[in-house]
């Protein structure tokens, strides 16, 4: 049941008492709100009611005498009489449960749901207690895997239609359905087609019996073993609310919480099962230092921090503070991000700080564009201009929200991007623009000269245009995105923007000042010194690309990788490689020895999700709590503790008296970019930042070379499952990353003789790779799509940072 505001009150008689309900709402909700819980299996407030299970039968009297009716199908009307506790209702519930249990195997002791099972609970509360059936129960093979992550036990299924409705209505992947008829009806996949949905874990969560179980949680614990805390998912920047559950200091499961403004109880599988990385045996439990033999070996924290502080002091004393650079920080909590911003910009005095790795939006856009929340974007009747990456791959829950908005709430989505995406089937119109040409295509749409008449009309007639803006193509310079935003603001002055950021807490890190030229709270270096600070950098530093360029040219003495892995994540792979080789000392602060940390001189063991408490800020600027449930392995510690210790060794005090909350309070004291949620306050939906009066936007003009007939424009984008460290370390998702391919349109593939799995050589000005080519109907002519951080083929070697676009030639090798 969701809380609603009662706008049209009607009076109904519920078990003899007059109560108020919202006109037209479902009876089952009205009764629950008024203190009378009606048992149910098939009804779920986020799914269309179907009245499958008949458990919610109540006696309804609308003037013609009481009759049993399914309360999940009856809208409330004035003067309705309802009895949820009569003998007739009790008998109906008894009967329904006896039938549901007729074939249920009652293997509760081995069932993962046992102990938290609605069927078990309601059989105890409303059931007959004994069965009259003596016949043999139905037998099926159990369990059968219907995907890599979900197992199906058809014996336990009560055919409530929740999973199938979810797959069809919510996820848009109708890959499971009822098959057969009568007493042979069962839920199953289509032959040979697994339930390969990015959202399959939700079916496990909503299954009211143990018919669907998740393989990562299978037999790991029983419900009464679990300790839980509410928190926020940190696998992307949507900020879904979750309950984290652990047993014996090990996180075992994540469940989505119904947060009305954010995730509506849904989670993507990456978020749901990604916690497994924290339990990986490869977690770093102690700091590592490169010893004389060249190996990384374990050292104590004092040794590690002393040596980190001494190289930093030496760099400051030597070539000055700007020879220290900090890269990363989007993995951190707001508090940790602020502590690192203060350490870098105040204590050390360098402005060479960037929390993004050349794959995000410029800080000016994220901090300066007039913001729109997810709810505002999905508001019924809104018009949305979607310019981001494939939401289904990168921001899965935003995709679910947009999909619902388009399907049910009449939201018109106009998509402009280099390829069609998972959202395209739900968009009013999808306009493809070859990389580099987004601004011109968009300009034509906005001034009415475009041939896409419908899209153009929608955008031009929108009274309150919402824009989702992001980087759909990592091979395209970010300046083109700036130019696009600039164009929209000029043509549609009232437009509001939702930045489609990728990493968990990019927004929070940017608000905390982990970007060149910025101080916490979106203030620039030209502004006043924040309260509690002694100094700020004298001159503006460089972003990720400049930092790496400087490092490659030997101008960076200490490169601090704050939970970042440029060797895997920075789009221009060769620059990242040269930079790590060229930096004098590399310090990595990470829970794992990732590819970049393997080349570091010092690796400091950091804590991870659910091991540290704090807050995080989602892409829409919602500050939500991250709660601690388990302890980090060994002596690994929170990032802010490392910052405080380093500052201490550098002779400064970051102002932490007791906990990270001191940092939160200090930051909230002088900026509107942070809110203190309060100790022990309910997690709730978090608090939206209330930001005003920022004037940060810049404009850009990019000269894009004309496309030539011999080459294709490269689109480098991401897939949900790739070879990133956290996914590789998660037991269940490690094998889910696809193979590297180059995707071509049929029109481009035909002349090359590509027919499905041909090996081709993709060559750009800067490098070449050999990779399998496939034909993809979502790729327009003139474009070649490759995925980032996938497989052994390194698409990042094809491009050079700073080039507006990347042209490649594809030849059959």
């Amino acid at each position: 049941m969701r809380d609603i505001e009662i706008t049209e009150p009607v009076e109904i008689t519920l078990n003899g008492e007059l109560v108020t309900a919202q006109n037209g709402e479902l009876l089952i909700d009205a009764c629950e709100r008024n203190g009378s819980y009606i048992p149910r299996f098939c009804y779920h407030s986020r799914l269309t009611p179907v009245g499958m299970c008949r458990m919610c039968l109540v006696e309804v009297d609308t003037g013609r005498g009481p009759a049993l009716q399914p309360s999940c199908m009856i809208p409330v009307s004035d003067g309705m009489g309802v009895d949820t506790e009569s003998d007739g209702v009790a008998k109906a519930q008894d009967g329904v449960l006896e039938f549901l249990l007729a074939n249920h195997p009652l293997d509760c002791p081995v069932c993962d749901k046992g102990g938290e099972c609605p069927l078990q609970d309601q059989a105890y509360a409303y059931g007959p207690g004994e069965s009259r059936f003596v016949e043999e129960k139905r037998h099926n093979e159990k369990p059968i895997p219907i995907s890599e992550l979900v197992l199906l036990d058809r014996e336990r299924c009560i055919l409530c239609d929740r999973c199938t409705r979810f797959a069809d209505e919510v996820a848009g992947d109708p890959l499971i359905h009822f098959i057969h008829r009568g007493s042979h009806t069962e839920v199953n996949t289509f032959p040979g087609e697994p339930f390969a949905s990015y959202f399959s874990g939700n079916t496990v969560q909503i299954c009211p019996v143990g018919a669907l179980t998740a393989s990562p949680y299978r037999f790991k614990a029983r419900p009464w073993d679990l300790e839980e805390t509410e928190s926020t998912c940190t696998r992307c920047s949507v900020g879904c609310r979750v309950v984290v559950e652990s047993s014996r200091n090990k996180v075992l499961r994540l469940q989505g919480v119904d947060s009305d403004p954010v995730n509506w109880s849904w989670l993507c599988d990456k978020g749901r099962f990604g916690f497994q990385a924290g339990n990986s045996g490869n977690r770093l439990s102690r700091p590592l230092q490169r010893c004389e033999s060249g190996e990384l070996s374990e050292v104590g924290w004092n040794t590690a921090l002393d040596s980190a502080a001494s190289v930093i002091s030496a760099a400051i004393a030597g070539r000055g503070p700007q020879s220290v650079a900090v890269l990363g920080g989007a993995r951190l909590t707001n508090e940790s991000a602020y502590s690192w911003a203060k350490l870098a910009k105040d204590v050390i005095g360098t402005d060479n700080v960037d929390c993004q790795l050349g794959d995000g939006l410029p800080a000016e856009l994220v901090l300066g564009l007039p913001g729109a929340s997810i709810d505002e974007v999905c508001e019924p009747g809104a018009t949305v201009l979607y310019l981001g990456p494939d939401a289904k791959e990168e921001l899965p829950i935003l995709y679910l929200r947009l999909r619902h908005a388009a399907d049910f709430d009449g939201v018109k989505i106009v998509e402009v991007g280099p390829t069609l995406t998972g959202l395209s089937p739900y968009a009013a119109e999808s306009v493809t623009a070859v990389p580099g040409e987004t601004p011109s295509v968009l300009a034509a749409l906005l001034d009415g000269t475009s041939e896409h008449v419908e899209a153009s009309a929608l955008l031009r007639n929108a009274s309150d245009l919402k824009v989702v803006i992001g980087r759909a193509n990592l091979a395209e310079d970010e300046a083109i995105t700036v130019q696009t935003a600039d164009l929209i603001r000029e043509s549609v002055p009232g437009a509001t923007f939702l930045p489609a950021l990728r990493r968990a807490n990019v927004r929070g890190a940017l608000e905390a000042g982990l970007a060149p030229g910025f101080l916490p709270g979106g203030a620039t270096l030209a502004g006043t010194l924040p309260t509690g600070w002694q100094s700020m950098p004298a001159e503006r530093g460089g972003g990720a690309a400049e930092i790496l360029e400087d490092a490659a040219n030997g101008r960076v003495d200490v490169l601090i990788l704050l939970g970042s892995d440029p060797l895997r994540d920075f789009p221009d792979r060769s620059l990242a490689r040269r930079a790590l080789a060229g930096a004098k000392t590399v310090i990595s602060i990470d829970p794992f020895v990732n590819a970049s940390a393997e080349q570091a001189d010092l690796v400091l063991a950091a804590s991870m999700f659910s091991e540290s408490a704090g807050t995080t800020t989602s892409l829409e600027g919602r500050v939500t709590a991250l709660n601690q449930l388990v302890t980090p392995p060994g002596t690994a510690r929170d990032d802010w503790m490392i910052a405080v210790d380093l500052a201490d060794r550098l002779g400064a005090d970051l102002g932490v008296e007791t906990s990270a909350d001191d940092l939160a309070e200090e930051m909230a004291g002088f900026s509107d970019a942070h809110v203190v949620l309060g100790d022990g306050a309910p997690v709730g939906d978090g608090v939206m930042l209330d930001i005003s009066g920022r004037d940060l936007l810049t404009s850009a003009e990019v000269e894009v070379p004309p496309a030539n007939a011999y080459s294709l424009r490269l689109v480098l984008n991401r897939t949900m499952y790739d070879k990133g460290t956290l996914l590789e370390e998660s037991e269940s998702s490690a094998g889910l990353a696809g193979e590297s391919v180059v995707k071509l349109s049929a029109a481009d593939a035909a002349p090359l003789g590509v027919d499905g799995s041909t090996q081709v050589k993709v060559t750009s000005e800067h490098g070449s790779v050999t990779v399998a080519a496939t034909i993809d109907s979502r790729v327009p002519k003139g474009v070649a799509v490759m995925h980032h951080a996938l497989g052994d083929v390194d698409a990042g070697t094809l491009l050079v940072h700073g080039d507006p676009v990347c042209d490649v030639r594809v030849e059959v090798s």
């Binding site: 002791p109 081995v110 102990g115 029983r222 009464w224």
Partner: protein
């Protein structure tokens, strides 16, 4: 001289005269061992079916019900080719901490497969804490269906491994009703087959007692 009065009791008991029952109750333990009651609660055993499969399915109900929180169980997937127990799940980890166990037998009552029962063995003492935590390998009966003897366990004092395991389970029916006296409702055990029900009360007796109890309750005003 009042303090010597107390010794009179001791001396009387020792001599066996003028006591309530008229006999001496002190025995020369451990040289002399009294037979243990039929439903004595001693250290646990994990039973196996007659075909050698483990009865434990790792459901953790014993751990859930344990008031002393002394049982730690974790389940795991059975290898379909070579299952440890019938069905999908088996007890992968099973530990009982005997420094905590109060031998209340709630675990035995909770167990849906009669995997855990208590033997009559109580003579075991440890010299370190890790010995006190019995692991699954230590609790599980051997291939002959007999419990395994730990070095610190004294089996000399009349403990008969062939008879003194799972006594409690055999004394009651699954529903706990004496009317089911003599009806075997439990699975066979490795090495023993289906054990005979424990003799004792009859359903008539139980029925009469129950009726008397009801009558007594009515006299006191019922409920």
């Amino acid at each position: 001289m009042g303090y010597l009065d107390g010794f009179k009791v001791t001396l009387r008991k020792w001599a066996g005269v003028n006591t309530d029952t008229g006999r001496r109750v002190t025995t020369e333990y451990p040289e002399e061992v009294r037979p243990k009651p039929a439903r004595f609660h001693g250290r646990h055993v994990l039973n196996r079916y007659e075909d050698g499969m483990e009865k434990c399915i790792g459901c953790e109900l014993c751990a859930g019900v344990c008031p002393a929180d002394c049982i730690y169980v974790r389940g795991s997937d059975n290898d379909p080719e070579n299952p440890t127990s019938p069905g999908e799940r088996f007890g992968f980890t099973y530990e009982i901490n005997y420094l905590r166990c109060i031998h209340c037998d709630l675990c035995v009552e909770a167990c849906p497969t009669q995997a855990i029962t208590e033997s009559k063995l109580f003579e075991f003492a440890f010299t370190n804490r890790s010995d006190a935590i019995y692991t699954k390998a230590e609790l599980l009966v051997g291939d002959d269906g007999r419990p395994r003897q730990m070095p610190w366990e004294n089996w000399d004092g009349g403990f008969d491994p062939a008879q003194d395991t799972s006594g409690w389970m055999r004394a009651t029916s699954s529903g706990g009703f004496a009317e089911f006296e003599g009806l075997v409702a439990w699975a066979g055990e490795l090495g023993y087959g289906v054990r005979a029900p424990e003799g004792g009360q009859t359903s008539e007796q139980a029925g009469a007692e129950a009726a008397a109890a009801d009558a007594a309750e009515d006299e006191h005003g019922g409920h």
